[in-house]
């Protein structure tokens, strides 16, 4: 039996993204030189939404792209082969820009490590920041997020599933576990 528990609903995801958008602008003192790069698959969807909010708030477009870090991962040999998603940098590139990486779940930190490596092959941003919808803990590397939608304490046996309208048809974050017990 798989136990499921919804931890964020559509409205909460919307509010979290709006708050992150304001945080990003506050930290950056405006939208100057900002570039959002989503990490496929759902990070790209979140980056697109975040970009839309930043554009609404600032009244001018904020460039959004995608960054696939698959070929930079350190765990390729431990898993079945992964397909590769597109990396698309916005016009103007990332040199001397402030890049905000966007992902759905921050877990071990290995994806972000790979993304930082991928980024350094593509250019030299002035600064790199990290925005995630959910931080579920259990970091294996010294990496932390600058902007977090929700901190979600989990046990290692649980799985965090992020569903987004554009990809999955619905907006929801839920925790699944095979065991019946559900941790706080």
């Amino acid at each position: 039996m798989t136990a499921r528990r919804t931890v964020l609903e559509a409205a909460e995801i919307r509010r979290a993204l709006t708050r992150i958008a304001h945080e990003v602008l506050e930290r950056n003192k405006g939208a100057d030189d900002l570039v959002l790069l989503g990490i496929p698959t759902r990070g790209v969807t979140l980056a697109t939404r975040l970009g839309r909010r930043l554009t609404e708030i600032e009244g001018r477009p904020v460039p959004v792209g995608s960054l696939d870090a698959t070929m930079y991962r350190d765990d390729l040999r431990r898993q079945p082969v992964r397909t590769i998603a597109p990396t698309e940098l916005p016009d103007g590139g990332i040199d001397d820009k402030v890049v905000v990486l966007v992902d759905d779940v921050l877990f071990s930190g290995r994806t972000i490590r790979a993304a930082l490596d991928a980024l350094s092959d593509l250019g030299r941003p002035r600064a790199v920041r990290l925005a995630v919808l959910v931080d579920r803990g259990h970091r294996e590397l010294p990496i932390r997020a600058d902007h977090v939608g929700k901190n979600l304490p989990t046990s290692l046996s649980e799985r965090v599933r992020v569903a987004l309208e554009e990809v999955d048809g619905t907006d929801e974050v839920r925790i699944e576990s095979d065991a019946a017990e559900v941790s706080a």
Binding site: D68, M71, Y72, L76, R77, R78, Q79, P80, V81, R82, T83, I84, A85, P86, T87, D117, D121, L122
Partner: protein, 335 residues
Amino acid sequence: MRHLLSAADLDRAQAVTVLDVAEQMAATQRREIKKLPTLRGRTVVNLFFEDSTRTRISFEAAAKRLSADVINFSAKGSSVSKGESLKDTALTLEAMGADAVVVRHPASGAPHRLAHAGWTRGAVVNAGDGTHEHPTQALLDAFTMRRHLVENATGADLAGRRVALVGDVLHSRVARSNVLLLNTLGAHVVLVAPPTLLPVGVEGWPCEVSYDLDATLAGGHGDLDAVMMLRVQAERMNASYFPSVREYSRRYGLDARRVGLLPEHTVVMHPGPMNRGLEISADAADSPRSTIVEQVTNGVAVRMAVLYLLLAGARDLAPAGPPADEVALTEGVLP
């Protein structure tokens, strides 16, 4: 996917995956820094028992762009010329820790033997065996066609496209692999050649056959989307297959007039090396419809995709290849 020995090893989904991954690999090759760390620490051996420049350097570039170590082994000037068998060569490479062996061999079926005899644990990639198969060439040809002929190419196959393969089908491993792969991808293939240059059993291949190039180019088998000229392989011809070079060129060579018969969007392809003036004239080869140079560029991306898919994932999770006894080694008969 454990090895890549035949274009027939790939089902539609796998073939489309290779093309999709190749699309992303091609994107990385337009960057300033083209090298990726993906296969760091892996060793790829290019084992070439037959002369080849373009295929070998294409595989070499692909492996190096993915940070694999590359060892080139060519039969000329090696222990093979002293009489070493394929088995002993393979055992040597295994002892050196080859993760992948890219093999080209004049004998049809040599890569199958290498993959299934238990001499090496590495992945085996067929880079051309005799007159049998050349699957990575077929993949790069399909990749080139998809880029030119299909909008929103990612995830798409070549359903409904019409491709003519023209010339020396008999000696062409490229033709055989292309027929198999294009058929898997849903394209419709017409072979155009003199009867002497068609293999025995061609009527059992999943394609049509024509002896008249002009009629086919003019739409005799429907509007063509791609025309691929095959090299006349004089080095494999031990008898005369056509009366004279001039007659062959007149009946089966692609020149500016014949290019003019084709629909506007049709691409002209050639796997190289070309015999200019024999199967293809200079103005056809250099025309804006020609994808011949692009095919070379695409070759690196496709081979990067193949090496990535064979080597990047965990070994024990990959499905096993087909058993050796299922493999037909007979020339002229499709497995």
